[in-house]
Symmetry: C2
Subunit: 324 residues, 2 copies
């Protein structure tokens, strides 16, 4: 399962009933609300508080790259605060589109487990904060597409074989009918670099969290089966094995490499690791590298002052060090 | 010097005065002449005798690939015999275009040394065989371009930097005026794969062996200087270093690789070895690989029955084994 499902995410959207939506609040009120949510959260478990207006652009983008916050969250930092659990499994964005965006992210496929963590935290928060809720519409959110459970459940899938056979596009259009959507993690659909895709539920109104999760889990399992079958098929082709092996050779030796090329080579290597072509590498180590080599993560690790070419050289240095 | 000059070759064309040129002889007479030359040669030093009509096409082509015989020599095997010294430094083709084509091949730049070996053997042979010689035209040969000394001296040069800067073409046209010619070892001029070039004298009439060799040596030295300067220039470019390093990575990991790609990657690696980018590899080991991975040499080493695709896989296996 881990061969295909990289990670699981649950996100809950919540709003406080005594405040207007963030778009209608001024900075002062946003800060007041942020403090209120922080105080409540910290009585439940320890969190690091990060005021988005206090961090650099590079730090902010690297948080997006790590999927700890949304790209939308850094479009405007005013009054926005991030709470991050020590192990980075739980993050709470305050004053994004909604007052609270609570997210739980875990490796591999573990929708129920991640939902349980999110649900428990949500329950405890609701004891301290008054959430806007309607018996008819469920949790109230700024955007009507989030009404109801306010939940988005998603899995990050590595689909190199389905991408290669161009099956992802076909699958994508069928999923819409099932209330799900699949998109490339970087860029759109089949243009996704690194063959990474995010599959998530689109319907939150008129469906329970459990049903939405079960639906997502079923489709995920089907996609995993399809992907594994497609892998068996393509791996009988020596040219595919050749490409996978060379990809590791290039990553181990390159002196300069851009993000897209590194991601695509790591995607090939991940397929090789999953299919026992490389003994000394683990899926976890590849997933970690895929995260670490992102542009802002490289700047954050080495120096924010690097030019794009220097960054590509540092990325190559880092990959060589980690893979050799 | 060895960084650029891979090997040196001296070839002497000789004919016996009592026989017509090979083109005018029938098989019986060719055999008689071959026996006569073999007997004479074997009293001087030990040689392996290879009757070209007794070996397979693969064996014959692999001898061409090793530069032990000319491509012309295998176009027709009738009455053709090869004498090969134990260390393969000396080869004598009997009944090629001329009765005798005596060749000495040595690593690096050593024109005088190679000529000395060829000259001594030639002198000893001339004591046993009556060579066709005219005071006016020197040694008589079938093709008038070989009249005079009957000598071709050549050096095999690795010119990756001059090739990259497209300077080889310009140099080529100037060399003609100096009585020399440069050509790609495989294919023509700048299309040479592996950036390997052969520089040789074109004039054998009205010039002594010593003058021809000195002329070739001077031009070789100049070309080496130009190549080394060009290398310093291109190696300051990280993208060139990146390409060199990746080339080794690919050679160490590929599962299938054709001859042209392998040669071009080995050429990059050879440049890297010469410029101390790789500690564990020697120029000799790369030169040996460049020879061993040629199509017929691979068939000869593994099995003559391999399909082209299987051959490319065996080539990759061989490279991985030798480089890891």
């Amino acid at each position: 399962m881990k061969n295909v499902v990289v990670s699981t995410r649950i996100r809950l959207a919540r709003n406080l009933s005594d405040y207007p939506f963030p778009i209608r609040m001024n900075e002062k009120v946003k800060s007041e609300l942020a403090d209120k949510v922080c105080d409540a959260a910290k009585t439940i478990m320890p969190f690091d508080r990060i005021d988005m207006s206090n961090i650099t652009k590079t730090q902010a983008v690297s948080l997006v790259e790590q999927h700890l916050i949304s790209p939308e969250f850094i479009s405007n930092s005013e009054g926005r605060v991030l709470l991050l659990s020590k192990d980075k499994t739980i993050s709470i964005m305050i004053n994004e589109e909604d007052h609270i965006r609570l997210q739980v992210i875990m490796p591999s496929l573990c929708l129920e487990e991640a939902y349980k963590v999110a649900d428990e935290l949500d329950t405890k928060l609701s004891e301290k904060l008054k959430f806007a809720y309607s018996d008819k519409l469920g949790f109230l959110t700024q955007c009507p597409t989030n009404l109801g459970t306010g939940m988005r459940a998603s899995v990050m899938l590595h689909l190199p074989a389905l991408k290669k056979s161009r099956a992802v596009d076909r699958i994508g259009s069928n999923l819409t009918k099932l209330g799900l959507t699949i998109r490339g993690l970087y860029g759109e659909s089949s243009e996704s670099i690194g063959a990474m895709y995010q599959l998530s539920n689109q319907v939150s109104l008129g469906i329970s969290e459990q049903s939405a999760i079960e639906n997502l889990k079923n489709i995920t399992t089907q996609l995993v089966t399809q992907e594994l079958k497609a892998r068996d098929r393509i791996l009988s082709d020596i040219s595919v094995v050749d490409t996978i092996c060379r990809s590791l050779g290039i990553l181990k030796t390159a002196r300069r490499i851009d993000h897209a090329e590194a991601m695509n080579l790591l995607s090939n290597v991940r397929l090789g690791v999953a299919n026992k072509l490389f003994d000394s590498l683990s899926l976890d180590s590849i997933d970690e590298l895929m995260c670490d080599i992102q542009p802002a993560c490289i700047l954050q690790r080495f120096s924010a002052e690097l030019s794009p070419s220097e960054r590509d050289m540092k990325r190559a240095d880092y990959l060589r060090e980690k893979l050799n």
